[in-house]
């Protein structure tokens, strides 16, 4: 039963990452990010139940609050301040990036097989999902122009790392997770300020225009 639920939440986790690449509306992206946060929370909770560990449960709750609550809320505020940015401006067209996503996921599964073989448990078998999400996050950050897309990409990467940590080792120490999350929060806040300043300066949040600051 737990295994089934775990598989389903892993599927949801990966799907939301794919969806982030698929959709164009930034609001939809943020919604998907929330879903992913929930899926991650689900994974954490299930593992905590599996291991009967209180600490893991605490981590899970913290993760849930941060990923499904605070960060999306912050992103919504960023979006609200930048009226112009409704859609992502992909550098690679969406169909192509879907195919790239397919390739990346294949790569992730192929690469993570030794990891799976290492600890052939149902949780470890889902670990490739985390790797795939990390790759997708990098891809998103690399091929989308709006600053918010970059933020979302970074958040995907973090989610992926967290998922790998949970699934492969069955939970990370509370301190580590909290530290990482704190850094992320900081990063988001910085980027939020940056975006608003950018908008004030250029009236656009297209990061390519930062190059103008060089010369």
């Amino acid at each position: 039963m737990v295994d089934q639920l775990l598989n389903l939440s892993c599927g949801l986790f990966l799907l939301s990452a794919i969806g982030v690449l698929w959709r164009r509306e930034l609001s939809a992206l943020i919604a998907l990010l929330t879903v992913q946060g929930l899926a991650l929370t689900g994974i954490a909770v299930l593992l905590a139940v599996d291991h009967h560990s209180v600490e893991a449960a605490v981590v899970a709750v913290g993760v849930g609050l941060l990923k499904a609550g605070l960060l999306p809320w912050l992103l919504r505020r960023v979006l609200a301040r930048v009226p112009g940015a409704r859609e992502t401006a992909p550098l690679v067209n969406v169909s192509a990036s879907m195919l790239a996503a397919a390739a990346l996921v294949l790569l992730a599964y192929a690469a993570a097989r030794p990891l799976v073989a290492l600890a052939p448990s149902s949780t470890a078998r889902a670990a490739p999902v985390g790797v795939a999400v990390v790759l997708l996050g990098f891809f998103l950050a690399a091929t989308r122009r709006r600053a918010i897309s970059q933020i979302i990409g970074v958040l995907l990467i973090d989610n992926g790392i967290a998922a790998v940590a949970f699934l492969a080792t069955g939970g990370v120490p509370l301190v580590v997770e909290l530290g990482v999350s704190a850094d992320l929060l900081l990063a988001v806040l910085v980027l939020q300020v940056l975006t608003t300043r950018l908008h004030a300066a250029f009236g656009d949040t297209d990061l390519d225009e930062l190059r103008e600051l060089h010369d």
């Binding site: 089934q4 598989n7 599927g11 799907l15 698929w22 996921v105 799976v116 889902a126």
Partner: protein, 313 residues
């Protein structure tokens, strides 16, 4: 022998239910739009009237134009008879193969596209071109979800897949089949020409895909085309239902079991159709050149389904 009877019954059932299903979807849409809407049997009334009216062949069009509706109908009926809707033990085990079903449905599409070109009108050609483009792009998704489903069973035989699912529920609620279901659902939307890929209710020729090919058909021909299209929708929704909710399908050919299965099948269809109709209210038609994005997404879902089924299996 009884297997053949069952197949005929099944084909008859699908043929009878399909127009009602269309009527039901129109009713749901009407309610959500604040209208009263027509009766359930209205599509049947339309068909009856169209069958009475005279068919018209445009000058210069030949046998292809008159043959296309019949071919479309024939393929639909064949699939409706072969696929495991009521019982997993059909007579045409060699035709109940998932790949064959896909091919037969595609054959119907091709017949209609050729007819659209045969009329020599600009709209006919436009519809044919768009329909074939979409059909070509849907194919990979379809076969990848077939792949994901067949690895579970080691066969592409629909009956075997459904039977396996019905006997082992745990094998159905896997991420693999969830992904395959999502991919297949999008493919079904595209194949059946529903929103957001095609708008079956449009009156503006330039936005048409399927409708543009049948603009020239009248009377009996049109009746066959519309009936077959309705059947295709039911066929695909039925496949979706039985592949991913495989319960209530009779394992034997006992009349009572078949009757029960028929009831369950109709209920499944109604639920899916209602969901589809309600969902369409919230959707707008995609631009033609945004459709590849949608299909690329469904393709990735299918691929993920295969991978997960291979890795988690």
């Amino acid at each position: 022998m009884s297997a053949w009877v069952a197949a005929c019954v099944q084909a008859g059932l699908v043929a009878a239910v399909a127009p009602l299903l269309v009527g039901f979807m129109r009713a749901v849409r009407a309610r959500l739009e604040g209208r009263a809407g027509g009766r359930l049997v209205q599509p049947w009334r339309d068909l009856r009237k169209l069958l009475r009216k005279e068919p018209i062949t445009p000058t210069g069009a030949g046998v292809v134009f008159t043959a296309a509706p019949v071919v479309l109908m024939a393929t639909s009926v064949l699939v409706a008879a072969a696929a495991p809707y009521l019982s997993t033990r059909g007579p045409l085990s060699g035709a109940a193969d998932l790949i064959v079903v896909v091919g037969l449905l595609l054959l119907g599409t091709v017949a209609l596209a050729l007819a659209g070109l045969e009329t020599g009108t600009a709209f006919g050609g436009m519809g044919a071109s768009r329909e074939m483009t979409i059909a070509a792009l849907v194919e990979p998704t379809l076969l990848l979800s077939v792949f994901a489903l067949s690895t579970r069973v080691g066969s592409t035989d629909l009956g075997a897949i459904v039977a396996a699912g019905a006997t082992d529920p745990a094998a159905v609620f896997t991420p693999a089949s969830a992904l395959a279901a999502a991919a297949l659902a999008i493919a079904v939307l595209a194949e059946a020409g529903r929103l957001p890929v095609d708008n079956p209710a449009t009156h503006l020729e330039l936005t048409m895909v399927h409708e543009a090919m049948v603009l020239e058909y009248a009377g009996r021909d049109l009746a066959l085309v519309e009936w077959a299209s309705a059947m295709r929708l039911s066929i695909m929704l039925g496949l979706l239902a039985n592949l991913f909710i495989p319960w209530g399908v009779a394992g034997s050919l006992h009349p009572a079991a078949l009757a029960l299965a028929a009831g369950v099948f109709v209920v499944k269809l109604t639920v899916l159709a209602g969901l589809l109709a309600a969902g369409e209210v919230f959707l707008a038609k995609l631009r033609l050149f945004r459709i590849p994005e949608l299909l690329a997404g469904s393709f990735v879902l299918g691929l993920l389904a295969v991978i997960t089924s291979a890795v988690l299996a």
